[in-house]
């Protein structure tokens, strides 16, 4: 694998050689891990059919961006490898450093809960004790680290292909077998008994008061538009694709695939409610369902599929977040100090060392961090540390030539306030105001951009006037 990787562009974006089917497959693999199944199943278990609402904003965001090329086309035409690169081209290197730091913190905190959640999952399904499961996770992560270190994006895409075959088979089997074994009428009865109309009608008691109502939809739509343009693991697929047309086509068709990515695991959570009752810990609903529902002979195959899903996510996330640290933090700092670009070989070496460091950190974080509220919301909010500011800066930076550096700084800073508050507040407030804090982040980022631009122009104007 290493023989195909000559420089940093081969390593991070596979020399922009990825075709449509391979790109779609690789994107699916990256964004489907054991943790994805767990958080969606938790939502289905805790909320019933209304949790399906989580799938629609994602699908719509993919379709609109794929069809229109909004933001993504200009980004692909710029031939960048990471999103913060855009910031140094449009604004300056200091902003690249700032957004890179927020991206690295948000992304790694997000990634950091994966091993813990998945270790618990494996522990329940296999019965292996927690302590040994963690050792298993470390071994699995080391294998992933080794092949990602060697071949970068090339080995990620190749292993994604093999992993997708297993994970898709597992997803189809659990859904079909679950419906046959539990029965559709029992599933519907379980939702009605446990949640009544609230579990079936997403706009109950009203569209504005419902947990999955209008506010949730707006937040999720904005969040997913941002994820599609600035979530490093996703945008790297875009930058690795052959050309802009292929990149847009991957996004358009992803709308269909990402609909299924959410609907099927949410449905497994609802099946767990019908099959196991409502008294179990929501995050344990899926592993318990699998162990009780799936026949012993097939369990091994399903586990292989689940592990494959995890490995593919780990490899992509390791590559993505370490590329932000190596390219945007370390690389930019060195350039700011020495005034020189690092050679491609040195960048490659730093990228590989960073990857190992990120892996060690996420193992440590997953051991000590306790999640409160929906796991899905925790993951969203860690990402939101940089997402609102980045989306606003990208949109203004690409489509409005008068965008100023002060506006970018303020947008990034104000957009990060609600997610920081969410991560620090108590569980009750988190659950009650998650949507408000979600869309509030985007609103604050927009206000920050407008105020910053206004201040920049005003003070810039006075400076010029004083000079005259």
């Amino acid at each position: 694998m290493k023989k195909y990787v000559g420089g940093i562009s081969d390593y991070l974006v596979a020399d922009r050689s990825m075709g449509f089917h391979l790109g779609l497959l690789s994107l699916m693999c990256t964004e489907i891990g054991m943790v994805t199944y767990v958080y969606y199943a938790e939502m289905g278990y805790r909320a019933g059919f209304v949790a399906f609402m989580v799938a629609f904003p994602t699908a719509i965001a993919f379709y609109i961006l794929g069809r229109t090329g909004f933001i993504i086309r200009p980004l692909m035409e710029m031939k960048i490898m990471t999103i913060p690169e855009f910031f140094s081209k449009k604004f300056n290197s200091s902003i690249r450093l700032y957004i890179g730091a927020l991206m690295a913190i948000g992304g790694i905190l997000n990634f950091g809960v994966f091993p813990g959640v998945e270790a618990k999952f494996i522990n329940i399904v296999t019965g292996i004790s927690q302590e040994y499961v963690l050792i298993t996770m470390v071994v699995m992560l080391t294998v992933v680290l080794l092949y990602t270190l060697m071949g970068g994006m090339v080995s990620v895409i190749l292993t994604n292909y093999l992993q997708y075959a297993l994970l898709s088979l597992g997803m189809i089997f659990i859904t079909v077998y679950g419906i046959i074994k539990i029965g559709w009428s029992n599933i519907v009865d379980a939702v009605i008994t446990n949640y009544g109309e609230k579990g079936i009608n997403p706009f109950y008691p009203s569209a504005t008061e419902s947990e999955f109502g209008i506010g949730f939809f707006i937040w999720q739509f904005l969040l997913w538009v941002s994820i599609l343009v600035c979530w490093q693991a996703v945008s790297m697929r875009l930058f690795s694709s052959k050309n802009t047309k292929t990149g847009q086509k991957i996004y358009s068709w992803s709308s269909l695939m990402f609909l299924a990515r959410a609907i099927l695991p949410v449905f497994w959570g609802i099946m767990a409610l019908a099959y196991l009752g409502s008294t179990i810990e929501p995050l344990e609903a899926l592993p318990l369902l699998i162990i009780k529902l799936v026949p012993k002979g097939v369990l091994g195959l399903i586990m292989a599929g689940l592990l494959a899903a995890s490995m593919s996510t780990y490899s992509s996330y390791l590559l993505s977040w370490s590329s932000v640290v190596s390219q945007d933090l370390i690389g930019t700092t060195i350039k700011l100090i020495t005034g020189k670009e690092l050679s491609s070989k040195k960048q490659l070496l730093i990228s590989r060392i960073t990857m190992a460091a990120v892996m060690i950190f996420i193992i440590w974080w997953s051991l000590f961090h306790k999640i409160e509220g929906y796991l899905y919301f925790y993951l969203n909010m860690t990402g939101m540390l940089f997402i609102p500011g980045t989306l606003v800066c990208l949109t203004f930076g690409i489509y409005w030539h008068k965008t100023r550096t002060t506006g970018a700084y303020l947008a990034i800073t104000l957009g990060a306030i609600p997610p920081v508050a969410y991560l620090l507040l108590s569980e009750d407030i988190k659950t009650a105001y998650a949507s408000e804090m979600g869309w509030g982040g985007f609103l604050l980022a927009l206000i920050g951009m407008l105020i910053g631009n206004f201040l920049h122009d005003m003070f810039g104007f006075y400076k010029q006037k004083n000079k005259i």
Binding site: D10, A14, L22, M28, V188
Partner: protein, 53 residues
């Protein structure tokens, strides 16, 4: 409420069928694309080796 139940049933069925069909299609058509990707990477590497021996 019945209207919503039917709607959710259609969504589940639609997701399951589209996911299955697309997965098979991606796995079949992904093989020649993998081959093309390695070919391009190989060609690029050869080109850069020839330019900087």
């Amino acid at each position: 409420m019945n209207g919503y139940i039917i709607f959710w049933a259609i969504i589940i069925l639609f997701s399951l069928i589209s996911f299955s069909i697309m997965s098979i299609k991606m796995l079949i058509k992904g093989i020649p694309e993998l081959r093309d990707m390695f070919k391009q990477l190989n060609d690029t590497k050869l080109k850069s080796t020839n330019e900087n021996p």
